[in-house]
C-alpha cells in the first residue's frame, strides 16, 4: 500500500516539475504577498486628504497638516476639479478670513461633519476641551494579521486546486481509467493526493508568512495549522476534480467554490460573536479562526480547538464525497 502511495506521489511531483507548476506555484504567492507588503503600510496609515487653495494662508495650511495629507493648488478652480475626482477628498478654499469647505456631495456619511469639526477647531481661539492620550503600545495594526490570514487561506486553496486540476487532467487523458483497473484504492488515492497537498500548502504558507510578517510569528503553530488544513485542501481538490469533466467545467465549478470559500471567512468578520455559530459547519471558517489565532492573538475560540475543528469538519466533507468519487472515478 505504502509503495503504491509513494509511486503516486512521485508521479505527481514529476508532472508538476515538468509543467513548471512548482515554479509558478512559488511565484504566485510571492507576488501576492509582495503586492500586499507594498500597499499595506499605506493602508495602515489611511488619512484624510485636503485639497487646499494656496490662498487659504500658510497658518491654516500648517495646521491642516496635523489632520491629514495636503494637496496644494494654485486656484480654487483646480481645487474644485480635484474634489470632483472619484475618491473622497474635500477642498478648502479661502483668503485668510473667509473659508469654504468644498464637498462633492456623494461622500460617505459624516464626511462633511468631520471637515467642519477640523476647520472649526483650527479657526477657534481657545480649545473647548482638554485631551490626554494613552497608548497601549500595540506594535502592529490588525490589518496585517488579517491580510496574512486571508493570504494563507488562498495558499491552502491553491494547493487544493492543483489536485483538482490534476484530477481533471487524469479524467481528460483517461489516466483515471488506468488507475481504476490498478490495485490502488480510493482511500490510498486520497492519502497520496493529501501528501502532495500538504507539501505544497506548507511551502506556500511558509513563504507567504515570511514575506508578510518575517519571523514575527509562531512558525511551529503555522506548520501545525497547515497540517490540520491539508484535509480541507484535499476536500476542495476532490470536489473540483470529482464534479468537473473538463477544464472549462472545472473553472465553472471553481467559481462557485471560490465564492463559498472566501465569503464565509469574510462574512464572519461582520457577524457578531454571539452569532458566529452559523459558520461552525464550515472548515474554512475554522481555518480562518486558526490563522487569526496565530497572527492576531487569541480569538474567542483558541488555536487548538480551531485546528481540531478544521480537521474534523474537513474529514466529514471528504467522507461525504467518497461515494460520489467512487462513482465518478470508478476507484474501489
Amino acid at each position: 500500500m505504502l509503495k503504491r502511495i509513494l509511486n503516486f506521489i512521485k508521479a505527481d511531483i514529476v508532472n508538476a516539475t515538468r509543467d513548471n507548476i512548482i515554479l509558478y506555484m512559488l511565484i504566485a504567492p510571492v507576488l501576492l504577498a509582495l503586492l500586499s507588503r507594498l500597499f499595506l503600510p499605506t493602508l495602515q496609515n489611511v488619512n484624510l486628504t485636503f485639497a487646499v487653495d494656496r490662498h487659504a494662508g500658510q497658518e491654516v495650511i500648517n495646521q491642516l497638516k496635523a489632520y491629514g495629507n495636503i494637496e496644494l493648488y494654485d486656484t480654487d478652480l483646480q481645487v474644485r476639479e480635484r474634489v470632483e475626482r472619484p475618491d473622497d477628498v474635500g477642498g478648502i478654499i479661502g483668503n485668510g478670513e473667509k473659508y469654504t469647505i468644498l464637498m462633492e456631495g456623494n461622500e460617505g456619511k459624516d464626511f462633511d461633519a468631520i471637515y467642519t469639526s477640523i476647520m472649526d477647531r483650527i479657526l477657534r481661539d481657545s480649545p473647548l476641551a482638554q485631551f490626554e492620550h494613552i497608548s497601549l503600545g500595540v506594535p502592529e495594526s490588525p490589518i496585517r494579521g488579517l491580510f496574512t490570514s486571508f493570504l494563507l487561506l488562498s495558499a491552502v486553496m491553491i494547493a487544493g486546486l492543483i489536485v483538482g486540476f490534476n484530477l481533471i487532467d487524469e479524467k481528460e487523458t483517461r489516466a483515471i481509467q488506468a488507475l481504476a483497473v490498478s490495485p490502488i484504492k480510493i482511500f490510498e488515492y486520497i492519502i497520496a493526493r493529501g501528501v502532495l497537498v500538504l507539501l505544497m500548502a506548507l511551502i506556500l504558507s511558509l513563504l507567504t508568512s515570511l514575506i508578510m510578517v518575517g519571523f514575527a510569528a509562531d512558525y511551529a503553530k503555522l506548520v501545525v495549522g497547515v497540517l490540520f488544513s491539508a484535509a480541507l485542501a484535499v476536500a476542495l481538490g476532490l470536489l473540483l476534480g470529482g464534479l468537473a469533466d473538463n477544464q472549462i467545467s472545472g473553472i465553472a465549478i471553481l467559481k462557485v467554490l471560490f465564492l463559498v470559500y472566501t465569503l464565509i471567512p469574510m462574512g464572519s468578520l461582520f457577524v457578531h460573536e454571539a452569532l458566529q455559530w452559523v459558520f461552525y459547519p464550515f472548515p474554512n471558517y475554522w481555518m480562518f479562526v486558526m490563522f487569526k489565532n496565530i497572527y492576531l492573538g487569541t480569538q474567542h475560540i483558541g488555536f487548538w480547538a480551531a485546528s481540531i475543528f478544521t480537521l474534523i469538519t474537513s474529514i466529514i466533507y471528504i467522507l461525504l464525497m467518497v461515494p460520489v468519487l467512487r462513482r465518478t472515478l470508478k476507484l474501489r
Binding site: L35, F39, M103, E104, A129, Q130, I248
Partner: protein, 348 residues
C-alpha cells in the same frame, strides 16, 4: 467573414452551455443578489470602533449619543472596564469623558498603531460634539459648499454591487478565455482551425463576444434583482461590454504564452488579485494612492457606482469610454499579434 464569425460564435456558445457555465453564472447571480438583498447588513463599520466611558456628572455624552443611534453596548461604566475592552478589541479606541460640559477632559485610549492625524481628527470631532451640546456658535466664518446636492449615503450591502460587477462579473472573461484556449489546444481543435479558412479576427471576436454576452447575462441578472429597472442600463451595458472585452483580451494575451491551465492558473490568480486592489480604494474612499488610480478597474468601479446610484455627476461617461476604447485598441493589437504568432502559427 461574417458567416465564419457566426459559425464560430455558435460553436463557442455551445461549449459554454455544455460546460454548465450559463447555469453556474445564473446560479451565482441569484446567490449574490440574495446575499446583497437579505444577508449582508446595510450598515457596517470598517473604521475603528469607539468605546466610551462617560464619567461626566450628568452623563450628557451617553444620553446624546444613544439618542443619535449609537449602540448601548459601546458604553462601559468604569475606567478599568473600558481599558480592558480596548485591550481586547484591537480595532477599537477608548474615549473617557470627565468633568462637565463647560470643562471636559477626554482621555483617549489608543492601540498605538493609529496615525497621529486620525487621533487629532477624533479630538476635533469630540470638541465639535461639545460645541453642538452647548449650542455654541461656529468659531469664525466658514461655510460648506456642495458641488452637487448632497446624496443619500449608499447602504453597505448595495455599495457592494459595483464591486461584484467589476471584480467578479467582468473578471469572468480573464479565466474563461484562457480555459477555452487550453481546451482547444488539448482537444486539437486549434490545429484544425489553423487549416480552416477562419482567421485571427473571427477567432478573437467570437470568443470575446461569447464571454461578453455571458457577462451581460450575469451582471444584468444581479443588477435587476438588486436595483430594479430604474437605472441607466444603456450606460451600464456600455461599461460592462467595454471592460469585459478588455479583461478577455488581457486573458487571451497572457494565456497564449502558457502550455496548460495549471501553469497559467497561478499567474492568473496573482493578476486577478492585483486587479482587485482598487476594491480597497472603493471601500476606503479617502485612500487612493496614485499607483492605484492607474489600474484600469479603478475608474470603472466608480463609474459603475455613479450609474447605479446617480448623484448628478455629469460628463464622467465620455472620458471613461474613451479610455476603455484606447486600452481595448492597444490590447487588441497585442492580442492579435500574440494569437497569430503563438497560437495560430503555421496558419494564415
Amino acid at each position: 467573414m461574417l458567416k465564419r464569425f457566426m459559425n464560430l460564435f455558435y460553436q463557442d456558445i455551445k461549449v459554454v452551455i455544455r460546460n454548465r457555465f450559463l447555469t453556474v453564472v445564473l446560479l451565482l447571480a441569484f446567490v449574490i443578489a440574495g446575499l446583497i438583498n437579505f444577508v449582508i447588513p446595510q450598515n457596517v463599520k470598517i473604521t475603528p470602533k469607539e468605546l466610551f466611558f462617560d464619567n461626566t456628572a450628568e452623563r450628557v455624552w451617553e444620553k446624546e449619543l444613544v439618542k443619535r443611534g449609537m449602540e448601548k453596548d459601546r458604553f462601559y461604566y468604569s475606567r478599568d472596564e473600558l481599558y480592558k475592552a480596548v485591550q481586547n478589541n484591537k480595532s477599537s479606541l477608548g474615549i473617557m469623558a470627565e468633568g462637565s460640559l463647560e470643562n471636559t477632559t477626554f482621555t483617549i485610549i489608543r492601540q498605538g498603531t493609529e496615525p497621529e492625524e486620525i487621533i487629532n481628527v477624533l479630538d476635533a470631532t469630540l470638541e465639535n460634539g461639545i460645541r453642538e451640546f452647548r449650542n455654541l456658535e461656529k468659531a469664525e466664518y466658514y461655510e460648506v459648499e456642495f458641488l452637487r446636492p448632497r446624496s443619500e449615503p449608499i447602504p453597505f450591502n448595495k455599495n457592494l454591487i459595483p464591486v461584484v460587477l467589476v471584480f467578479e462579473v467582468v473578471m469572468l472573461g480573464f479565466l474563461m478565455i484562457a480555459v477555452m484556449i487550453f481546451q482547444e489546444k488539448q482537444e486539437g481543435s486549434i490545429r484544425a482551425y489553423r487549416v480552416s479558412p477562419g482567421g485571427v479576427l473571427e477567432y478573437i471576436f467570437s470568443k470575446a463576444s461569447v464571454i461578453t454576452l455571458l457577462g451581460l447575462i450575469y451582471g444584468g441578472t444581479i443588477v435587476v434583482l438588486t436595483r430594479g429597472l430604474g437605472i441607466d442600463y444603456l450606460s451600464l451595458t456600455a461599461l460592462i461590454v467595454l471592460t469585459s472585452i478588455l479583461i478577455t483580451l488581457m486573458g487571451l494575451l497572457l494565456s497564449v504564452f502558457f502550455r496548460n491551465i495549471s501553469e497559467f492558473f497561478f499567474i492568473a490568480i496573482a493578476i486577478m488579485m492585483a486587479s482587485g486592489i482598487p476594491i480597497i480604494a472603493y471601500m476606503y474612499p479617502s485612500f487612493a494612492p496614485p499607483f492605484m488610480t492607474w489600474i484600469p478597474s479603478y475608474p470603472v468601479v466608480f463609474g459603475v457606482r455613479e450609474i447605479l446610484f446617480p448623484t448628478g455627476k455629469e460628463g464622467f461617461m465620455a472620458p471613461l469610454v474613451w479610455i476603455l476604447l484606447l486600452e481595448n485598441t492597444v490590447l487588441f493589437a497585442a492580442s492579435y499579434w500574440a494569437v497569430q504568432r503563438k497560437l495560430l502559427r503555421g496558419g494564415r
